[in-house]
């Protein structure tokens, strides 16, 4: 995965960070204690603000007050530490190792499920974070991409997870599950090809009308075989909430399917009968329908490290 990692960020910005705002942020972050200069600190803050447009929707312009609020909401001390580490400041790196070395190793072991693989993963990440890799003479460090919005620990964990997943995907090819031979043929008659075709179309339309969260829920639950508890942890809601949302989504899908089938010219009775179709008779790829590529991703992020 190509990486783009500017170590020195352009100083120009639509918002000039200086004066009391910068001083306040500087003091809150204790940026001087980790070896950062004020201009470097200002650059880091401006990069974060530009990256996320100060928390505003794309196209909106932030006022100085909005920018100040956004920057104050960041984890400033961790941001300063991460940025100083990315720039290779020894004092920052010492502090980083003291705080995050052991927890990071333990997290890597937990993610990989193996002590040896976990330590290897953690060491690999440490070397990357210290900027041992260089490209075109510039130090490459994943820590430069830390924005301070979430915790540094969470960022490190997500980075570990990303590397582990990518490594696993490279080394284990995904093979389609073998088609199960039906032991006994169903007694229900197979719908006609016309009905199946209409059902497939209605399904595509219906799944396309789902909200992002609904599609995520269904994909995680049915495609990834995740448990509701796991999904609840990702969405930061109660497990019962996930259950309710899944129920609502499946009910909505059924209603929409009925509506779409009837809009396509089927009678209500025929539509309901069509919904009882054995999914194995459907010649559609539900996985691709549910995970249809959306072109309107709001952020196109490249992985900060080369995954070769």
């Amino acid at each position: 995965m190509p990486s783009v990692l500017p170590s020195v960020l352009p100083a120009t910005s639509s918002l000039d960070l200086s004066g009391p705002l910068l001083d306040g942020l500087w003091q809150a972050a204790e940026a001087g204690s980790v070896g950062l200069s004020k201009p470097e600190w200002a650059q880091a803050l401006q990069a974060v603000g530009t990256k996320y447009n100060y928390g505003l929707p794309p196209g909106a312009r932030a006022t100085p007050a909005q920018a100040g609020d956004f920057l104050h909401s960041l984890r400033l001390a961790e941001l300063a530490l991460a940025h100083a580490c990315a720039l290779g400041r020894d004092v920052a790196w010492q502090l980083f190792l003291a705080r995050y070395r052991d927890p990071l190793t333990k997290a890597a072991i937990a993610i990989t499920g193996s002590a040896s693989m976990g330590e290897e993963l953690a060491d690999s990440l440490y070397s990357e974070m210290f900027g041992l890799k260089e490209r075109d003479g510039e130090r490459l460090s994943p820590l430069a991409y830390y924005s301070g919005r979430g915790s540094l620990a969470g960022f490190l964990r997500a980075t570990l997870a990303q590397r582990n997943v990518d490594r696993h995907r490279r080394t284990h090819r995904e093979t389609p599950l073998p088609l199960e031979e039906s032991a006994a043929a169903t007694t229900a008659p197979v719908p006609s090809s016309d009905v199946l075709s209409r059902l497939g179309k209605a399904l595509a339309v219906t799944l396309g009308s789902l909200t992002a969260e609904e599609r995520f829920l269904l994909a995680a639950l049915f495609l990834d075989q995740r448990t509701m508890l796991q999904i609840a942890q990702v969405l930061r809601v109660h497990e019962a909430t996930v259950s309710r949302r899944v129920s609502r989504a499946t009910l909505r899908i059924r209603k929409e399917l009925l509506k779409n089938l009837q809009a396509d010219g089927m009678s209500k009775a025929a539509a309901e009968e069509a919904l009882d179709t054995d999914p194995r008779d459907l010649d559609i790829n539900l996985r691709s329908l549910l995970q249809a590529s959306r072109s309107s991703a709001f952020l196109e992020q490249e992985s900060p490290t080369d995954q070769t």
């Binding site: 979430g150 992002a212 995680a220």
Partner: protein
Amino acid sequence: MRGETHLDPDLLSAFLEGVLTEHEREACLAHLADCPRCREIAFAAQEPLAVPVGPAPTVAPSPVPWWRRWLAPAMVATGAAAACAIAVAGWMYLHRAPASPAVDEMVAKATPPTPPSRQTSAPRRAAEELAPPYQAVTPVKPRPGAVAAAATSPAPTPPVAAAGVAPPPPAAPPAPARTELDAVGALPDSPGRFLAKQRSAETPVRSGQDSLRFRVDRNGGSGAGVSDVAGSVTDPSGAVIPNANVSMRQLAGTFVRNVQTDVAGNFQAAGLPPGRYEIQIAAPGFQKTSGEVDLQAQDLAMITSKLSIGSTAESVEVSAANSALTLPTELPLNGRNLAMVAIAASPGTTAVRGKLIVKIDSGALSFSKDAGKHWKRVKQPWQGKAVQITTRGASASAPEVFQVTLDSGVVWSSRDGEHWYLDPPSR
């Protein structure tokens, strides 16, 4: 994977920690829904990372709106204050002044919708707690135009009043020269009217047996040449008995008057010709009692009756003036024994609707959905004893329901005999 776009770890960790704005979160969800790789990373990154030991990095707190700073403490304070107020009100209610035992005191207070004093505090209090907006013992509501000197507002008496403590009437206090008798002189007949009348002379003419006591007030009657009878019927515990039959039969003549006690256990009959009367009082589940009294013109006979508990097998004497004994239309005869038939035929203690039977047993309700084969105790949402169970006929707009009348006079209804709801009082 080259050329594909994915969520970087910074954005993903921010999403997992819930710090993104709504539009950012939606965009992340949209990508996660489409990208199995990022989903896998998101789930893999879920286990918490141990917090490093050491000085926590200072994080500039986001400014909290002033109203949020005060919202939580204000809500806690409000909740605590409300809880204290409820506790104090409940304590005061439980420790209110006891009901006055004497009728005279009630008359002196001169409030027409005043419940009798013979009701014990326990069932009344229980009934009051049961339905605070309603009168636990519904005194006779003053009819339009009803004005006692200390007449209250047309609203029902609050529970505190039902305890025997008359509520402060919103109307002006009576002029000293007027008596309650004058004030209620224009009232149509109502038991409260008699209870509000001032005693001029109390002459115990004949006390009768313990279950039936008389007190005749000469010149206390309503009209010239006729006499009046009024009183109340209670059970041994002092709880009122509504719908008790009171029969007044002139011994030397043919005059007969039959009345029933109201939900407050009171009854009254006005305009009786003078003469010697046999007063009989009967109620389902209680032993009948009777006594004799001489009534002269303008007499007011005040009768207090305390019925003893009778068995369900006892017959109930009902005069012709009253509604005839109403048997259930469908008796569960198939496979039933005579005892069950007798119970089913006992009006007031059993009600039948098809296979559904509800019966009163020692003040508690039981129901059967299979014509008496199996019985279940009703989980009573009320306090107090059930004294009568009936069915209310179906209409175009309302299905047939069971109705149980409690000793406090409150009526509860049920469609299935198992689940009961409070009947709103008739206004």
